[in-house]
């Protein structure tokens, strides 16, 4: 947890510095009324203060209170692969179309996660995709036709 706390505190500090760096370029206060940059600077300063507090508390944290965070086990690697798959799905979705991309994504994930027979996996995936397509496309009037295919 120590390592994670240091990373959290460092990342948030960088994020806050980034906000301040942009906000100082915004128009200044006018007749005592804050300009658009003032509140972001206040909040970013608060973030830096909290990040520093977290940093100091973590430094003073007794070693026996430290706990490891699982970021490399096989289970977590499965999450990373899933994230990668979904990013790919997000990229292909507008290009290919909802029904085809979603059905393939579901088939691959369900087959991987559950090891069911192919025909059952395909049936579940296609039926669910079509149901969502009809629910959002026809009942809720959300435009669901995009991409080269359907």
């Amino acid at each position: 947890m120590r390592k994670a706390n240091f990373i959290v505190s460092g990342t948030f500090t960088l994020f806050a510095i980034f906000i301040i760096a942009i906000s100082v370029g915004y128009p200044p206060s006018n007749h005592g009324v804050p300009g658009p940059g003032m509140f972001p600077i206040i909040i970013a300063s608060l973030i830096i203060l909290s990040a520093l507090t977290l940093f100091i508390f973590t430094l003073r944290m007794p070693k026996e209170m430290d706990s490891a965070i699982d970021l490399k086990s096989k289970n977590v690697l499965n999450v990373y692969i899933t994230m990668g798959g979904l990013v790919l799905y997000f990229v292909l979705l507008p290009l290919v179309g909802f029904v085809v991309t979603t059905s393939i994504m579901l088939i691959l994930f369900i087959k991987w996660f559950s090891k069911r027979a192919w025909w059952k996996t395909i049936l579940i995936s296609v039926l669910f995709t079509v149901a969502i397509y009809l629910l959002f496309g026809s009942v809720l009037n959300v435009p669901m036709n995009f991409g080269l295919l359907i």
């Binding site: 947890m1 940059g37 972001p40 994930f109 996660f113 959002f136």
Partner: protein, 488 residues
């Protein structure tokens, strides 16, 4: 107006939506890994095309049902379906070990109903008065209210105040994106047209609450959940009824009070009710061994939070918990702004929500007592199939709000970020609440200074403002002072 409200809630269409919401909620809540917040976030996109009353009541149905549904797996699997049911595990699973899971679920159902009804009554009685009071608020009071809300959210929503403030700060920072409401100056838009109108908070919420949770489920996707218990005799015995009627109303009231506090969710409501019941019991040593009070108190407590959380949300636009934050999103999509004006401009809607929430609790009782076997079957739906389907719902839900793929990217980004924040033990709720309270704080801060021509004394010019200043200081400094006093 009464007739309008009755007509509105008791129309076939709305009644069906409430039943559908409660049913869906119980199914979602009973499945470990799917929380009430996630359920409401996933169902939210379905309400975009609906009118305000059916849309909001569908979501409230999901909320009420999911908070109750969490007890089913808590009792049967020793795994709370939602964090709100964590306290129910302590005694609930002991019943199952003795083969009395039906009895435990009967106690849980009736207690949840009583807790829910107490909270609806409080919502009904307190909200209009609070809204009247809030009508007297002007910019400085609203600013201080938002600051108080943010301070309390940061201090109670995680294990560390610093992490709570960091995450709240992240949420507020996201609210800066877009054209500044007062000067019209574009902030943090990086010449991206999608950012000009600001960060749409529904994709952020779906990402932080639903997608990140689904990622966490993937970690244990290959571990099956087993349900071996058979359910029988759900209706509580005379002896159990006596205990329920003694415990549940008070626990429901405690849950309601906790729900009113911004940021304190159903999980806290359940644990506080449980420990209060234990403290006031003649036999506290029996808690944890499977006694009816051990189920009745947390279940009435967590459902008590449901109505309580809506009180600050409807009257002042300050969400009582993460679900209330999503409901603010749902109201905003309908073009409605939660706050005191809602009570004067949309009175029928407000009272329809009150009555609809009562109907949702009755529906929960009826479904819970009559269809438990069906809900237990839901537990055997494999998460290996359910989780990929949740991915699709998250994607379609984020896309549907503006029919824009940029929002899907935002959802995915916050889903991944939420997963890592959870890993680092950072609660994501303050981010969403910050996203909602941030604009309220900033616009009223600047408006107040505009009113006072730059004089900061306006923030301590009224008694109400002083109340909020003192409350904020107590919230932020209280824990540190207490710690110091303990040491000396």
């Amino acid at each position: 107006m009464l007739l309008e409200v009755l007509n509105s809630v008791f129309s076939v269409q709305i009644f069906l939506f409430i039943i559908l919401g409660v049913f869906t909620g119980i199914c979602i809540g009973s499945l470990p890994g799917l929380t009430a917040t996630m359920g409401v976030a996933l169902v939210l996109p379905l309400t975009f095309g609906m009118e305000a009353t059916p849309g909001i009541l569908l979501l409230i149905g999901v909320y009420v049902g999911a908070i109750y549904g969490g007890s089913i797996s808590a009792i049967l699997l020793r795994t709370p379906g939602t964090p709100a049911a964590a306290a129910t595990v302590l005694d609930g699973y002991e019943f199952s070990k003795r083969g009395e899971s039906g009895r435990a679920m009967g106690i849980s159902t009736v207690s949840s109903f009583i807790g829910g009804v107490v909270s609806v009554l409080a919502l009904w009685l307190i909200s209009p008065q609070l809204a009247k009071l809030a009508l007297r608020f002007s910019a400085p009071e609203f600013f201080l209210l938002a600051v108080f809300g943010l301070s309390i959210i940061a201090s109670i929503s995680g294990n560390s105040l610093a992490k709570g403030v960091l995450c709240g700060g992240l949420g507020i920072s996201l609210s800066f994106i877009g054209i500044d409401g007062i000067t019209g100056y574009p902030r943090f838009t990086f010449n991206n047209i999608n950012l000009l109108s600001g960060m749409s908070f529904i994709p952020v919420m779906i990402g932080l609450f639903a997608m990140s949770q689904a990622f966490s489920t993937v970690e244990n996707i290959f571990t099956p959940d087993q349900v071996t218990q058979k359910i029988s005799k759900v209706w509580p015995s005379k002896k159990d009824w006596k205990i329920i009627l003694k415990t549940a109303p008070l626990s429901g009231a405690i849950g309601t009070m906790i729900g009113i506090v911004p940021g304190a969710g159903a999980e806290i409501g359940a644990f506080v009710s449980y420990s209060q019941a234990k403290r006031s019991s003649r036999h506290p040593e029996l808690f944890g061994t499977g006694i009816p009070e051990g189920i009745s108190a947390p279940e009435a407590g967590n459902n008590g939070v449901t109505g309580g959380a809506l009180i600050p949300m409807l009257t002042m636009g300050v969400p009582g918990d993460a679900v209330a934050a999503i409901l603010i999103g749902a109201l905003t999509v309908q073009g409605l702004q939660p706050g005191p004006l809602l009570f004067t401009e949309h009175t029928t809607l407000v009272y329809s929500i009150f009555l609809g929430m009562f109907v949702a609790n009755v529906t929960m009782l009826v479904l819970g007592l009559s269809s438990l076997k069906l809900f237990v079957k839901v537990l055997s739906v494999p998460k290996a199939i359910l989780t990929p389907m949740i991915f699709v719902l998250c994607v379609v839900g984020s896309y549907a709000i503006n029919t824009n793929f940029f929002d899907v990217g935002v959802m995915l980004f916050f889903g991944i970020l939420g997963y890592f924040l959870q890993k680092a033990d950072v609660s994501v709720s303050p981010a969403v609440l910050g996203l909602i309270l941030g604009p309220m704080a900033e616009s009223n801060f600047r408006r107040a200074l505009l009113m006072s021509e730059g004089s900061y004394s306006i923030f301590v010019a009224s008694p109400i403002a002083w109340v909020f200043v003192v409350l904020t200081l107590v919230t932020l400094l209280g824990p540190a002072v207490k710690e110091r006093l303990k040491k000396h």
